[in-house]
C-alpha cells in the first residue's frame, strides 16, 4: 500500500524512465524485485538532496555577485574563478564555528527550531518534476503537499524565536508566523486556479497540460494575474526583501536567528535559500511550462525525422527538460536577487494590508474568472 504512493507513474508514459530501466537492470543481475526497489529508493532522494544543496551554493554565489554588481563592487573573486568557491568557504567557516546556546535559553526547543524550518522545505522537493518521470514521487496530491508542508515552517520559526530568550528573536518569530499565515491564503488560491485548469493536483499533470504549443501554451498567458500573485506570495514566504520583515536587520538585529551561530545558523541560511530555489522551480512548473522547451521537442524530432522513442533521443530530450527547468528557475532566482538589492522594505502594516486587503480579493476574483472562463472556453482553459 505504501509503495504505490512512493513508486507512482508505474505506467510508463513517453519520456525517460530511469526507474524502470534501473529495476530491469538490477533484476537482470539476479536481484529480487523487492531488493531492486529497495536499492532504487534512496538514489533519487540523495540525488535531489545533493541537487538542492548545489542549487543553494549557486544561488548564494549569484546573490553575492549580483549584489556586488548592483552596488558597483567586484564581489568575491579570490576563492576560485570569479569567486565560485566563496559559498563553500562560507559553509566551511560555519561548520567550524562554536555552537552556542545562550544562557537561560531553552536548549531543546532552541536546537529543534532550525530542524523544523529545514525539514519541510527539503521534503517539498519530493514533488518537483524535472521531466515526465524525473521526480522522486508523482504523488496525487502533488502541489497541495507543498502548500501543506510549507505551513509547518512558521512553527519552527516561532519555536526558535521563543526559545532564544531574546526580545528581537521573539518579535522576529511572531512576525514570521503572521506573514506566513497571511500570504499562504492568496498563494493557495493562485495555485487553485492553475489546478482548476489542469484538473489535477499532480505537478506532472500540471506541466503536461502546458505542453502542446511550446511557449504559447504556458500558463503565464492564461494566468497572468495568478502568476504575479504567486510570485509576490512566494517572495513573502521566503522572507526575501521587500518582505524580509522577520529578519529586518535595522529593526530586529536578525530576527529569530539573532542568537544562532555555527551549524544551527547555517541550517536557517540553507533553509531560506533552498526555499527560494524551490519557489522558483515551482513558479516555473506552475506557470512557465516546467520542463517544456519554448519550441516543443516533439516538433524538433519530427523535423529531424527521429523517432521520439529512440534511447539517444530520449536521453537528449530528458537533458533538455532538466536544463530548461533549471534555466527558468534561475531566471526567477535572478529576479528575486535583483529585487532584494534594489527595493526598499515594506512596513509591517503595509505588508499585512497588501496580503489581506489586496492580494486576497484579487486572488479570489482570479479564481472566479478562471472558473467562468473554464466554463465558457473549455478548449483553452482545460474543460
Amino acid at each position: 500500500m505504501l509503495s504505490t504512493g512512493l513508486l507512482g507513474a508505474a505506467v510508463a508514459p513517453p519520456g525517460l524512465d530511469l526507474q524502470s530501466s534501473f529495476l530491469d537492470l538490477a533484476q537482470a543481475m539476479g536481484l529480487t524485485p523487492g531488493a531492486a526497489r529497495l536499492l532504487w529508493l534512496p538514489l533519487p532522494m540523495v540525488l535531489v538532496l545533493v541537487g538542492a544543496v548545489v542549487g543553494v551554493l549557486v544561488s548564494v554565489w549569484l546573490e553575492r555577485k549580483i549584489s556586488a554588481a548592483v552596488q558597483q563592487r567586484i564581489g568575491p573573486e579570490y576563492a576560485g574563478a570569479l569567486g565560485v568557491l566563496q559559498p563553500l568557504a562560507d559553509g566551511l567557516k560555519l561548520v567550524f564555528k562554536e555552537d552556542i546556546i545562550p544562557a537561560r535559553a531553552d536548549g531543546l526547543l532552541f536546537s529543534l527550531g532550525p530542524v523544523l524550518v529545514v525539514v519541510p522545505v527539503i521534503l517539498s522537493w519530493l514533488v518537483v518534476p524535472f521531466g515526465q518521470n524525473l521526480l522522486i514521487s508523482n504523488v496525487g496530491v502533488g502541489i497541495f503537499l507543498w502548500i501543506a508542508l510549507s505551513s509547518i515552517q512558521p512553527i519552527g520559526l516561532l519555536m526558535s524565536g521563543y526559545s532564544s530568550n531574546n526580545k528581537y528573536s521573539l518579535l522576529g518569530g511572531l512576525r514570521a508566523a503572521a506573514q506566513s499565515i497571511s500570504y499562504e491564503i492568496p498563494l493557495a488560491l493562485a495555485v487553485l486556479a492553475v489546478v482548476m485548469m489542469s484538473n489535477s493536483l499532480s505537478t506532472v499533470d500540471i506541466v503536461a497540460q502546458q505542453t502542446g504549443a511550446g511557449i504559447f501554451s504556458w500558463n503565464i498567458w492564461r494566468q497572468p494575474v495568478g502568476f504575479v500573485i504567486f510570485w509576490i506570495c512566494a517572495l513573502a514566504e521566503c522572507e526575501r526583501l521587500p518582505f524580509d520583515l522577520p529578519e529586518a536587520e535595522e529593526e530586529l538585529v536578525a530576527g529569530y536567528q539573532t542568537e544562532y551561530s555555527g551549524m544551527k545558523f547555517a541550517l536557517f541560511y540553507l533553509g531560506s535559500y533552498i526555499n527560494l530555489v524551490l519557489s522558483a522551480l515551482l513558479v516555473s512548473v506552475l506557470y512557465l511550462g516546467g520542463w517544456g522547451f519554448p519550441l516543443p521537442v516533439e516538433w524538433i524530432t519530427g523535423w529531424l525525422g527521429l523517432s521520439p522513442d529512440a534511447p539517444l533521443v530520449q536521453v537528449i530530450t530528458g537533458s533538455i527538460g532538466i536544463v530548461s527547468t533549471i534555466i527558468k528557475a534561475y531566471l526567477l532566482v535572478f529576479f528575486a536577487i535583483l529585487l532584494r538589492w534594489t527595493t526598499p522594505r515594506v512596513r509591517i502594516d503595509q505588508l499585512l494590508d497588501l496580503g489581506w486587503k489586496f492580494l486576497l480579493p484579487i486572488a479570489l476574483v482570479n479564481l472566479l474568472v478562471t472558473a467562468g472562463l473554464k466554463l465558457a472556453f473549455p478548449v483553452a482553459f482545460g474543460g
Binding site: L145, I152, L158, A178, E184
Partner: protein, 208 residues
C-alpha cells in the same frame, strides 16, 4: 513478510506511540508552550496515520489546517500574552485532579469497550488512493452540500464576531444609553485614566 508491510507496521507503531505520548504530554505538562508545541507533533503524527491509511489528501489537509493554521494561532496567542506569573494555588487541587483523572479513566474504559464490542468489518473497504480528492469534491457538492455550507456560515459568524470584538469603534452610538460613542468613551469604564482626555477631546463619530 514483505518489506512494504514491515515498513508499514514500524511506521504505525512509531506514529501511534508519538500520538499517545504526545497527547499525554499536551495534557500533563505544566509549561503551556511545551503543550502547544507537542500538540503540533500530535497533529503531525495523526496526519502520518492518515497517510498510512492511503488518505493522502486528508493527511495534507490535516497538516495545512491543524498544524499550519490552528496550532500556529495557538502558539501566536500564547506568545503574545506570555506573562510569567505565579498562579495562586487553587484550594483542593488534589481532589480536582483526582476527579478529572477518574472521569478520563471512565471515558477511556467506555471507549475501550466500544472498540472491543463493535463488530469491525475486516478487512475494511478498499482504499481509493489517488481518486480520493475527486471523491471528496463530489461528496462536498452533492450529498454533503448542506453541512459544508453550514460550516462556512459558522466560520463567517466566528469571523464577524472576532472583528466586532477586536474593533470597538464599530458602534457610533452607545448601545445602552444612545449617546454618541467613541473609542475613548467605551474605554472609560475599564480605564478611569482615560476620562480626563476623552472629556476634552472632540467626539469621534465613526460610521459602522
Amino acid at each position: 513478510m514483505s518489506i512494504a508491510s514491515t515498513t508499514q507496521q514500524i511506521c504505525f507503531l512509531v506514529l501511534s506511540a508519538t500520538t499517545v505520548i504526545g497527547s499525554l504530554g499536551v495534557v500533563l505538562l505544566p509549561n503551556i508552550v511545551y503543550s502547544a508545541f507537542l500538540l503540533g507533533g500530535v497533529f503531525l503524527s495523526v496526519a502520518g496515520l492518515y497517510l498510512l491509511l492511503n488518505a493522502s489528501f486528508v493527511a495534507a489537509a490535516q497538516i495545512l489546517v491543524y498544524v499550519g493554521a490552528v496550532n500556529v494561532l495557538i502558539l501566536f496567542a500564547i506568545m503574545l500574552v506570555n506573562k510569567k506569573e505565579t498562579l495562586a494555588a487553587i484550594p483542593g487541587l488534589l481532589v480536582r485532579r483526582l476527579l478529572s483523572g477518574a472521569v478520563c479513566a471512565g471515558l477511556f474504559a467506555l471507549l475501550l469497550r466500544v472498540a472491543f464490542t463493535t463488530p469491525w468489518a475486516l478487512p475494511g473497504p478498499t482504499p481509493v488512493g489517488e481518486e480520493a480528492t475527486i471523491r471528496i469534491g463530489e461528496h462536498l457538492f452533492t450529498d454533503y452540500l448542506l453541512p459544508f455550507e453550514l460550516a462556512s456560515v459558522l466560520l463567517l459568524m466566528a469571523m464577524i464576531g472576532a472583528i466586532v470584538l477586536a474593533r470597538r469603534d464599530v458602534f457610533s452610538t452607545d448601545v445602552i444609553t444612545g449617546e454618541p460613542a467613541d473609542q475613548g468613551l467605551i474605554e472609560k469604564d475599564r480605564t478611569p485614566l482615560l476620562i480626563e482626555t476623552s472629556a476634552n477631546a472632540p467626539t469621534l463619530l465613526t460610521k459602522p
